[in-house]
Symmetry: C2
Amino acid sequence: MSTRRATIADVAREAGVAPSTASVVYSGKAAVADATRARVLEAAARLGYTGPDPRAASLRRGRSGIVGVVFGEHLGRAFLDPVKTLMMDGLAEAVAPLGAGLLLLRDEPAAADAPTLTTAPVDAAVLINCSARLRGSLAAARARGIPLVVVEGDAGEGVPRIDLDNREAQRQAASHLRGLGHESAVTVTLPPHAGWRRGWMSDDDASAAFNVTRDRLAGVRDVYPRAPAFAAETTSIDEGVAAGRVLFAGPAARPTAVIAQSDLLAAGVIRAAEEAGLRVPADVSVTGFDGIVVDGLAPYRLTTLVQPAAEKGRAAGVIVSTMLEGGTAAGILFTCAFREGNTTAVAPRSPR
Amino acid sequence: MSTRRATIADVAREAGVAPSTASVVYSGKAAVADATRARVLEAAARLGYTGPDPRAASLRRGRSGIVGVVFGEHLGRAFLDPVKTLMMDGLAEAVAPLGAGLLLLRDEPAAADAPTLTTAPVDAAVLINCSARLRGSLAAARARGIPLVVVEGDAGEGVPRIDLDNREAQRQAASHLRGLGHESAVTVTLPPHAGWRRGWMSDDDASAAFNVTRDRLAGVRDVYPRAPAFAAETTSIDEGVAAGRVLFAGPAARPTAVIAQSDLLAAGVIRAAEEAGLRVPADVSVTGFDGIVVDGLAPYRLTTLVQPAAEKGRAAGVIVSTMLEGGTAAGILFTCAFREGNTTAVAPRSPR
DNA sequence: TTGTATGCGTTATCAC
DNA sequence: GTGATAACGCATACAA
């Protein structure tokens, strides 16, 4: 082994061709005679050259082939949410033809020297659920001309958004319950803001909440203006159980209808209801949100709003691709589909 | 806006300092007079310069600050497994001080031009559950001097491995059951290989299996040499339910002890048992593997083997860090801890 | 503490 | 089809 790693220039010299020719052998950007190609490849093998250095290539090309994904929460937590996972799937798929991989970034770097939107070699970035915290690096990224897309959040003017008709969709679920004769309902929501501790939400909390939480709550209140809102700490079955236990604690005021802001929460509420000796949907109706497959919930099929999670990711990928090619792209508003399952039914005759 | 983005050279000129000085202002690698710093920063602001270009910096430094994570399976699926999620957590934490982000890579590029170990600007890579498929790019990565670590898999000589004492650990669970008087047991395993369809495993399947599947099965058979093995398609509660339904189908030969290779599968088996009218642990004992919190399984606490999932990720991160600093690192063998819950009990008197 | 001079390894451009 | 050349934008060794 030589003292220094072989470069494409070494290979070209060894093969007796110009560097540009050797480069083309690897990039395929132009036609090369078979004999020439063979000579180059042989020389490379002799020198132990394994292809162009991605770092140098990306400097020269002005592209790294990397799309940053910025999460507004702990990575481990984000991946526990099937909706996010599905989105990542769609996103990965959409940016693949672009030759891009996904770089995981947080909006609040743990370590001082952790990579950020501005220090990582990303061609574009997708912001998920991100908070106001990163407005600074956002501005820098935009000044630098890095295409940005935000999924369910607000990154300010000029950043395309992928959104959901949360309010309207949630209103459908509420209307469905109303149509079944439920005169009141309780809603179990996603956290209103970072660091929230499980509990009942005040009106102040409600107005300051994350977009998603706030909009879905508004949808409920369009139908049930006085619906109490219990906010969970995160989206999980266990959180749903915890919330459900509170709702079903006093036999006095047990709700007959519970509107959960996620399928996981709904699944937990159902379990808590069973625990309290209530039958679903005979005694209490429960709706979810997301339309994911809840592992282990069978034989229940949730009445829920099916959101196009993978589509959202795919759309984000398509938008950054378009922008990278110099096009401009508007945001997209996705629509949820109401799906009736077997967790909602006509309200019991005598309100409990 | 000028026709061309400002570079650090432009900033230096505008500020009336040398490029190296401007560079130092951003890197902090040397002391700079406050007045000088201020001049540089002002000039930068005037020119709309937002900091060094990461691509150029990484070429010059020879480091990109990116660690590749290569999965042997569909990304969406990988993240559905809490163990993987925890590992990613630990890994992210361990590479953060290194100033590195995680780049998600697949071992079987979907698109022809999807990024790979060899085309992505990674400083190092962690391979998770990867298959033989990528031996080619592995060789290239090693030739190029990219530090590699493999978690629960085999990447050939010279690649440090993070492993688990799967066989010994699983043997403990089996011994525990044997000690409780269970004379036979059935095991529900992880898939023996990619693309496996749910079903009973033959001895041929068993020997050709993934390391993890094979070793845990061996642990069971150390205690119950004739234990039948039913292999799931993936690790999830629903798969566990499906497997459990098969096990508990014929009232004739119902097992009194089921050894599942993951907590999720165990949770499903328990649910299937309840469905079949069996009580856990009175009628049937069930053990899991992983020691994760199974969302929604309460009030059961699984008897299981607790594996240090986050530790494994952290160790992988530490090893690549060490190797990046020129050190050499050996692999690590982690140990699982047996934890008794309330899903195992003395075998019922009359075998069913 | 600041400045000077190089080169990191490629690839785009254009002429041949 | 192939070759010569010039950037890409920066960080570092070393001198001042």
